[in-house]
Structure formats: structure tokens, C-alpha cells
């Protein structure tokens, strides 16, 4: 399966398991979503479980709040995460705060799915990585898978989670990443990172599509520069797996953090601070970040903007040469 198929499979499994799981969004019905993530679900579950909405993200998420309060388990799709901002108020002030502000009595668990990230020549309205806004918001969980197996297991876990989850799907990898995925149900625990490569010299902490660039960079670095790289795929960004990061850092002593989102106040800054607060004496070099730049997402220079293999390799050499 690829990631789109894995997402589709997770949705189907959960809709079969629980009648309260419903999908709403733009073009998710008969058409099956612009990326085909909901393909076939309308036909299988009908218009009361999978339905198109008027074109308004605040309406999609705002209605989902009411449905969740009523006991349903909505899985709204935002067509591109770049279009999520009309719903930002609903997410930050309502979805994320309902449990806390009602003293734990009212909750609105839902999974807001949205394709994210660059690499498809989509310019700044089809390429953004806004995860930091949501990680910064108390009351949410934030998830971003990098491969089909995790995508399905994490999505099922997210739908079963009693908290609201922002589920970001790296669209560049939707069809590019393929792998074995079981047909039936299984979960990948939220909050746990995955060590996707073992190494001794440097730890790359990353997530989403960049995991694949990191793997390429690490393989080349091993061959050409004799650098042994360990890679952690965080998978869940909030709450993130600090223990896994610290374990690896204590072994390697060097850290490169890589994500597509812009550098300043990006999630890498938080990870970096988390490491330096707890493992300073293990570090043999400054923690480096390879990220998108602090510009709007550019169209023509997309490849230069993204934290590609070349930039990651340079960072690996820099932490080794320090």
C-alpha cells in the first residue's frame, strides 16, 4: 500500500468498527477526496456517514465540535492544510479548550486530517507545514506519519483517542512511500518515536517526508564520509517522545534536527531546547537545524527551500567537524 491507501484503509476499518465515526469535508463524498483518501467510503457507508460540506473550514470544524459533543466521532478532512486557517479559531479556542474549560465534563474528540508539506510544486498555498501552531496549542495532539504502515496505525490510534488530534499527512509521500500494510486493524501508539536507522555518531531527529531525505543523506554519509547516523522518526509531535531522543543523543552526542517548517520558532527549536536542558554534557557539538527557511514557501525554488539530502549531509559533516 501507499500512504493514501493506508489512510483509506484506516478510515474504513474504523467506520466498520464504530457507527459514530463519520467523515466530512470538501469533495470527500462521491468524489473520494482530491487525493482519493476517502475513495469508496461514500459508496460503502452512505451519505449519512461520509458527506460533502459547503466550502468553509470554520464550518467544517465548528460543526464537527457539535457532532463530537453529541457523541459522534467526526474525522473532518481539510483539503490542504494551507486552508486550515479559517478554522484556526475553532481549533485553538474551541476544539482544543473544550475539555479544560468545562472542567473535564465536555469533550470533542475528533481527528482533523490534512495533507501538508511541499514537494509537489504547489507554491505557498499547497505546501505549508504549520505543525508548530498546533503543537503550541494546549489541548491537542499532533501526529505526522512518514510511511504507510505508520499512517494506518497512527490514524486508527488517533480516531480511538479521546482527545482532538491534528493528523498531518505529508502529501509528497502519499504515493511515493510504499510498504507492507496489514488489511485489518492495528494501532501504532501515539507519543512513541520510531528508530528508523541505527548509528553511533549523529542522531537525526525528524518526521514526515523529511525522514526519507534523512535516510538518503545517512546512507550517503555512511558510504562517502564514514559517518554513522541514527534516525528517529518522531511520528507524534505532541506529546513527543523525548525519552527516545535523549537515549539516542546520549549514545551519539551529536544532533541534527530536520523539518520542512520554517526555522524560527519551528518545532526543531523546542526539541533543541529539550535536549540541551537535559543532556548538555553529552553533547559534543552544537545542535544543528536543517529546516525550511523563514520565507513564505517559494514556488520556483522549492527544492532549495526544502531540507533536502544535500543540506542534511552538510549539517552531518558540520557536527562531526566541530
Amino acid at each position: 500500500m501507499n500512504i493514501v491507501q493506508a489512510v483509506n484503509s484506516a478510515l474504513r476499518v474504523e467506520m466498520q468498527r464504530d457507527d459514530m465515526v463519520v467523515i466530512l469535508g470538501q469533495d470527500v463524498g462521491q468524489f473520494g477526496g482530491v487525493f482519493r483518501a476517502t475513495q469508496g467510503l461514500f459508496k460503502e457507508f452512505g451519505p449519512s456517514r461520509v458527506f460533502d460540506t459547503p466550502l468553509a473550514e470554520n464550518g467544517i470544524v465548528g460543526s464537527a465540535v457539535g457532532m463530537a459533543l453529541h457523541g459522534m466521532r467526526p474525522v473532518p478532512e481539510i483539503q490542504f492544510v494551507d486552508f486550515i486557517y479559517p478554522a484556526f479559531d475553532q481549533i485553538v479556542n474551541e476544539v482544543a479548550k473544550m475539555r479544560y474549560r468545562s472542567g473535564g465534563k465536555l469533550t470533542c474528540p475528533m481527528v482533523i486530517r490534512a495533507p501538508c508539506g511541499g514537494g509537489i510544486r504547489g507554491g505557498h498555498y499547497h505546501s505549508q507545514s504549520p505543525e508548530a501552531y498546533f503543537i503550541h496549542t494546549a489541548g491537542l495532539k499532533v501526529v505526522m506519519p512518514s510511511n504507510p504502515y505508520d499512517a494506518k496505525g497512527l490514524l486508527i490510534a488517533s480516531i480511538r483517542d479521546d482527545n482532538p488530534v491534528i493528523f498531518l499527512e505529508p502529501k509528497k509521500m502519499y504515493r511515493a512511500a510504499r510498504g507492507e500494510v496489514p488489511e485489518g486493524e492495528y494501532t501504532v501508539e501515539l507519543g512513541k518515536a520510531s528508530r528508523v536507522r541505527d548509528g553511533d555518531d549523529v542522531t537525526i531527529v525528524t518526521y514526515g517526508a523529511v525522514v526519507h531525505d534523512a535516510l538518503e543523506a545517512a546512507n550517503e554519509a555512511a558510504e562517502e564520509d564514514q559517518i554513522s547516523v541514527e534516525i528517529l522518526d518522531l511520528r507524534t509531535l505532541l506529546p513527543y517522545d523525548l525519552d527516545a531522543i535523549l537515549d539516542s543523543v546520549k549514545k551519539t552526542g551529536r544532533v541534527v534536527i530536520a523539518h520542512e517548517a520554517p526555522k524560527t520558532c519551528g518545532f526543531g527549536a523546542e526539541i533543541s531546547a529539550g535536549i540541551s536542558e537535559r543532556a548538555l554534557l553529552y553533547l559534543q557539538a552544537p545542535i544543528l537545524r536543517v529546516t525550511g527557511f523563514d520565507t513564505p514557501f517559494p514556488y520556483t525554488f522549492e527544492q532549495e527551500y526544502l531540507p533536502n539530502k544535500t543540506r542534511i549531509r552538510k549539517a552531518l559533516r558540520d557536527v562531526m567537524d566541530f
Binding site: 470554520n58 465540535v65 459533543l69 475539555r99 472542567g103
Partner: protein, 366 residues
């Protein structure tokens, strides 16, 4: 849509010619009157309390009681009320106690929402009374979602959203009505047009000839009602609820009323509106109007009314003094309910705070 306001009870408390009072038992009429009166006396008392510095803030609803309580009374217990910050007394009708109300104002250890929100931001899952959000209009789509869920699940309940005239300018108002129209959500949109959004008059909110007329654009029912007439508000809300329950779609109700007091205790309306206007609306006071009617038809006597006043004063005194003595919740509770289980980073931050606090204060039992 009717061209005129629905009106049953005239300002002097007489029934309009050709109109009939809805079938409400004398006991229920008295219960309603009691909640209206309680509402008014709570407001007067709490505003004083805020002036004395005993609570930080208060939102009154003087002049709008008939809209709030009349609408709530038209619903069944299984129906949802999704309020903004000015309708919490609708919860009193459903059994929210004065003591709970006072505890919330103090944000103390008995506050059902654990001191998490400023005064007037109640919530009660048990009473199907939504959690209050300060940003104007945010709650309206929630009522759409509840009404949609009720239709999809066939549970037979309806959802009523309260909001003010200012909220009709927000995007959330638009999407809520638009979505509800498309899905025939079992929802009632109750707009309290109290003429003022803090200092901005309702004619600056819209160029429409009314707020009710906006329903037409969404393909839903729209009705304007005298919001100071408890019978008319009850009747139109009941009709809207019946229609919603039967799958006939949502209704926008514009209740024309007036905010006799300030927006909140942080506001001073003398800076932007004439006393004359306020005096004009005082003649249409919903509480006095209802009282005149009840006295007139003999459901209420001056003696009963005087006793009721005394009873209410005592109840408020008792609840207040009991609530004011209760200390704040344990500081540890600040870290709870962010998620269903406390994640590691919040546990760590809780420890960080504990390390600079006296242990008793941090872990005090609530």
C-alpha cells in the same frame, strides 16, 4: 416570513387583541416568573459585588430575561442549549444551583469548571448546557453540529444557540446557518438583538432591514419576535423546536430586546448612548410586563411577590456567603483536563511549579 414582530403581551402587561397566551400552567408561570426575578436580582447583586472588588468581572442580562428564559423554557431537557456569555440564567431554569453559580464567579474549589474561566463562563454537561467561549459567534456552528448529529442519529433532540446582534456579523454565524440549511439540522438560532454590541449599535452591524430576514439567504425559516414578551418568545421557540424535531429544518429567531445595563462591568454605556433611549426601553421591561400580567390574571399577588423577593434575597445571601468562604482549587488541578491523561511534559511542568510552592498548597484536596 411574517412581516411583523410576533407579539402577545403588550408592554403594559395586557394580552394583545386577537392573541392567545400559550398553554402554560399557573405553576409553570410562577416558576418562570421566579427565574426571571431571580435573574434580575442576581445581576443587581453581582454587579455590586464586582464594584466591591469581591469578584473580578460580571456580565448582566438586565432587560433580556424574557428572551433568555422564554426560549429555554420552550425546550425539553434532552435539548442542548449552546449559550454565549449572557444567557447563563437559562441554566438556572434547568436546575443549575445558585451555589454552583456563585462558586463559578469566585473560581473556587467547588466551581464545576475548577476555576478555569472568568466569571459567567459556566458549563454543565449534565444539563446539556454548553461551555461558554468569550469570542463572539464561535458557539453558533456547534449548535449546527449538535442539530446535525441529532438528525443523523435520530435522537429527537434539538440544539438552540444563543448569540447577540454583533455575532451576526461573524463568519461563524454565516457558516452555521448555511451548513444548518443545507443539512436541515435540528437547530434553532436565537439572536438576542439587544441593540448594542458593547458600544456599536445594531445598525452598524448590518444594512439588512432586519436580522431575521437573513434567514432567507440560507433557505431557512426566519422570524422576528418581541424579545421582551416572554409568551411570544416561548411560542416562536416552541414552534421552531417542533419544526426542527420533525425534520423540517432550522429557524433563525431575532428577539428584539434591549440591554438595559452595561455590556459587562468593564463597560460604561453613558459614554455612547442616551439615557432617554434607556428610559424608553425601561417602559418595555420584560420582568415588569410579566409581573403586571400575572397580577392582573390573579396568578400572583403583591404579598406572594414580596415574599418571593425576600426568599430570593435570602437564597442569594446564603449561596454567596457559603461560596465566598471556599478557597481556590489545589494548584495541581491547573494541569488536569488539558488532555484525558496528563502527558509527560505537563507532569514535568507540574513538578516545576510544585518545587517552588508549599506542598500543602499544591496538593490540597478539593
Amino acid at each position: 416570513m411574517p412581516e411583523e414582530q410576533v407579539s402577545i403581551l403588550l408592554p403594559e402587561g395586557k394580552v394583545r387583541e386577537g392573541q392567545k397566551v400559550p398553554p402554560i400552567s399557573p405553576e409553570d408561570l410562577l416558576r418562570l416568573y421566579r427565574v426571571l426575578l431571580l435573574n434580575r436580582r442576581i445581576d443587581e447583586r453581582m454587579i455590586k459585588l464586582q464594584r466591591q472588588g469581591r469578584i473580578s468581572f460580571y456580565v448582566g442580562s438586565m432587560g433580556e430575561e424574557a428572551t433568555i428564559i422564554g426560549a429555554a423554557f420552550a425546550l425539553e431537557a434532552k435539548d442542548w442549549i449552546i449559550p454565549c456569555y449572557r444567557e447563563l440564567r437559562a441554566a438556572l431554569l434547568r436546575g443549575f444551583s445558585l451555589f454552583e453559580l456563585c462558586c463559578q464567579l469566585f473560581g473556587n474549589a467547588q466551581d464545576t469548571i475548577k476555576g478555569r474561566q472568568m466569571p459567567n463562563h459556566y458549563a454543565s454537561a449534565e444539563l446539556r448546557f454548553g461551555s461558554i467561549s468569550s469570542p463572539v459567534g464561535n458557539q453558533i456552528p456547534h449548535a449546527t453540529g449538535l442539530g446535525l448529529a441529532a438528525r443523523l442519529r435520530g435522537t429527537g433532540d434539538v440544539a438552540l444557540a444563543f448569540f447577540g446582534d454583533g455575532a451576526t456579523s461573524t463568519g461563524d454565524f454565516h457558516v452555521a446557518l448555511n451548513f444548518a440549511g443545507v443539512y436541515k439540522a435540528q437547530t434553532i438560532f436565537m439572536c438576542r438583538n439587544n441593540q448594542w454590541a458593547i458600544s456599536v449599535p445594531s445598525n452598524v452591524q448590518t444594512a439588512s432591514q432586519s436580522l431575521a430576514i437573513k434567514a432567507q439567504a440560507y433557505g431557512i425559516e426566519g422570524v422576528q419576535v418581541d424579545g421582551n414578551d416572554i409568551f411570544a418568545v416561548y411560542a416562536v421557540t416552541k414552534e421552531a423546536a417542533d419544526r426542527a424535531r420533525q425534520g423540517k429544518g432550522p429557524t433563525l429567531i431575532e428577539a428584539v430586546t434591549y440591554r438595559l445595563g452595561a455590556h459587562t462591568t468593564s463597560d460604561d454605556p453613558r459614554l455612547y448612548r442616551d439615557d432617554e433611549e434607556v428610559e424608553r426601553w425601561k417602559k418595555k421591561d420584560p420582568l415588569l410586563r410579566f409581573r403586571s400580567y400575572l397580577l392582573d390574571v390573579g396568578h400572583l399577588s403583591d404579598e406572594v411577590d414580596t415574599n418571593l423577593e425576600k426568599e430570593i434575597r435570602n437564597e442569594i445571601d446564603t449561596a454567596l456567603s457559603k461560596a465566598e468562604k471556599i478557597g481556590p482549587p489545589a494548584v495541581d488541578t491547573m494541569f488536569e483536563d488539558v488532555l484525558d491523561e496528563m502527558p509527560w511534559h505537563l507532569k514535568e511542568q507540574r513538578e516545576e511549579l510544585r518545587s517552588v510552592m508549599e506542598p500543602e498548597a499544591a496538593q490540597q484536596e478539593t
